[in-house]
Structure formats: structure tokens, C-alpha cells
């Protein structure tokens, strides 16, 4: 650990943390895919209700996306508005 300043360590770990925070994107991706698949099969069974199925599916997907966006928010905070540097 020679030659590594405290600030450098915090910055490096923040960058790694931002990357790790985006693992949160896996869950919404899987969830949205499942929702879209079920939406497609619902349209296949009942083509007449296409509009309603699509809007319901989009609504559910948007709600499922929230957790991923929380991860994104954490990543942005770590990269561009880092609160940890101020603590040094």
C-alpha cells in the first residue's frame, strides 16, 4: 500500500462501488423480460385486448424498474457527488 493516498483509496473504492451498485440492474432486467414474455403470450391468446395488455405490462415494468434506478442513483452519487471525500 505504498504511495497510495487516502483520497486515492477512497476514489478507487468509490469507483468499484459504483460498478457494484449497477448489479442491481440484473433484477429489473429479468423481471421486465418475464413481464414482456407473459404480455406477448397474453396478446397471443387474446389479440383483441392488445392495447390494455400493453399498457398494463408497461405499468408493471415501470414499477419493476424502480429498484434498478435506485442502484443507478447510488452509482451516480458515488461518481459525481461523492459524500465520502468530504469526510477525509
Amino acid at each position: 500500500m505504498e504511495g497510495i493516498t487516502n483520497e486515492g483509496l477512497v476514489l478507487a473504492c468509490s469507483a468499484i462501488g459504483a460498478g457494484l451498485a449497477l448489479i442491481a440492474g440484473v433484477g429489473p432486467g429479468v423481471g421486465q423480460g418475464i413481464a414482456a414474455g407473459h404480455g406477448a403470450s397474453a396478446v397471443g391468446r387474446n389479440p383483441g385486448a392488445r392495447g390494455e395488455i400493453t399498457s398494463t405490462m408497461l405499468l408493471g415494468q415501470a414499477v419493476a424498474e424502480t429498484t434498478g434506478l435506485y442502484g443507478l442513483a447510488i452509482a451516480f452519487i458515488l461518481l459525481f457527488a461523492n459524500p465520502l471525500i468530504g469526510r477525509l
Binding site: 493516498t5 408497461l58 415501470a62
Partner: protein, 239 residues
């Protein structure tokens, strides 16, 4: 301290951050006029100009609509249908509000196409939108459920009260964070592409704009209005 601020300050001169244009002092506080103010002003001017033009056109409307009148009627009908299919009998009272936020958020989201920084990529714009929706939800909750608005928090079991309360309070934050996060991620992605591939990013980035600005912006607008309608009509009696 120079190295310490490398990451933190590299954001301030990156293209996608909110930039202060000039500051002024009022009551000992420093206020900044930022890029968000400028782009929200431009968006407002565009919407106002369109509204005035539409008003002039509609005030001597023709029996058989042509051209611009067709466009206006299409927009109004689309918004009315959207509200009506979600709120049923209550649609009349809410189509003004839903239509307003729909047009405002949509024009804000696609303003990235013409090189503005979208106003909705600023949490200071989306949080008030969420708070307006929140106060509307709670106003209707109390108006229609009277005292039931408070006793509903203790259902189905009394000890679930804190969870129900948090569920109510989280609504504006999840609404606003969703819109903010989506638009901001699109903005960041576009400016990263432009700054990384400065010489190669010519012309072909158009399809990315279509996805990040147009598609994502339209979907998020729709979702915001949709969730507003769902949350409000949850609190009202069905007829």
C-alpha cells in the same frame, strides 16, 4: 486535494451535469440560474406558443377539420381517451391536470433531441411534480374517504401502521426518482458517447437519440401519468 477531487470535480465540467450560468444574492443566500432554468424556459415558450396557436385556430374552427386543427383535435382526443380509460366517471375532473403534466413532461423529455439538457433530468423539477401528485392523492383520499383515510392505515392489522405510512410517503419519491433516473441515464449515456467517440460519433448516433430521448421519454411520460391516475383512482369509490 487535487487528486481527491479528480472524480468529484470531473463531473462539474462534464457535459451532462447541471451548470450554473450566473448567481445572485437574495436575503444572504446565493441562488444560481442554471441550465435547467434556461431549458425549462425554452420548453415553456414552445408549449405556450403552441397553445396560443391552437387557441387561435380553434376559436374559428371549421366543420371539417384540416391540417393544424386535425393535429390539435388528435392530441386532445388522445389525452381524453387515456384519462377516460383509466379513471372512468371521474375522468372529467382530472383530464386538465393529467393533460398538462403529460404535455410538459413529454416536451421536456424530448428536448434532448434539440441539444437542450432535459429539465426533467434535474431532481428539482421531478420532485415537485411528484409532490403535486402526492397532495392530489391525499386530497382526494380525505375528500372521498373522510375519516376512513386515516383508519385505512391500520388495515388489515393495526401493527402494520408504520409500513402503510411509509408506503404512502414513498409514492412521490418513487414517482419522481423513476422519471429522473430514466431521463438522467439517457442524458449521461448520450454525452458519454459524444465525449468518448468525439470524431466517430457523427450521424449514426441518431438511432440512440430515438431510443434514449424519444422512446424512453415517451414511455416515462406515459408511466408517470398512468401511475398518477392509478394512485388517485385507488382512493376514490368506484361507480
Amino acid at each position: 486535494m487535487e487528486t481527491a477531487n479528480l472524480l468529484a470535480s470531473s463531473g462539474s465540467d462534464a457535459g451532462f451535469m447541471i451548470q450554473g450560468l450566473f448567481s445572485y444574492k437574495l436575503f444572504g443566500q446565493t441562488f444560481w440560474i442554471t441550465t435547467t432554468h434556461v431549458s425549462i424556459l425554452i420548453v415553456m415558450i414552445i408549449i405556450l406558443a403552441f397553445a396560443v396557436a391552437a387557441r387561435i385556430k380553434i376559436s374559428h374552427a371549421e366543420e371539417y377539420p384540416t391540417g393544424f386543427q386535425n393535429v390539435i383535435e388528435m392530441i386532445v382526443e388522445m389525452l381524453d381517451n387515456m384519462v377516460e380509460s383509466n379513471m372512468g366517471v371521474h375522468a372529467k375532473k382530472f383530464r386538465n391536470y393529467i393533460g398538462t403534466i403529460f404535455i410538459f413532461i413529454f416536451v421536456s423529455n424530448i428536448s434532448g433531441l434539440v441539444g437542450l439538457r432535459p429539465p426533467t433530468a434535474d431532481y428539482g423539477v421531478t420532485l415537485p411534480l411528484g409532490l403535486i401528485t402526492f397532495s392530489m392523492i391525499q386530497f382526494n383520499n380525505i375528500k372521498y374517504n373522510k375519516f376512513g383515510a386515516f383508519t385505512d392505515l391500520f388495515k388489515p392489522l393495526p401493527f402494520l401502521f408504520p409500513i402503510n405510512l411509509i408506503g404512502e410517503i414513498a409514492v412521490p419519491f418513487s414517482l419522481s426518482l423513476r422519471l429522473f433516473g430514466n431521463v438522467l441515464s439517457g442524458t449521461v449515456m448520450m454525452s458519454l458517447i459524444y465525449s468518448l467517440l468525439s470524431n466517430i460519433a457523427i450521424g449514426w448516433t441518431g438511432f440512440l437519440h430515438i431510443y434514449f430521448d424519444l422512446f424512453s421519454g415517451a414511455i416515462q411520460t406515459y408511466v408517470f401519468c398512468m401511475l398518477t391516475m392509478v394512485f388517485v383512482s385507488q382512493k376514490m369509490p368506484e361507480e
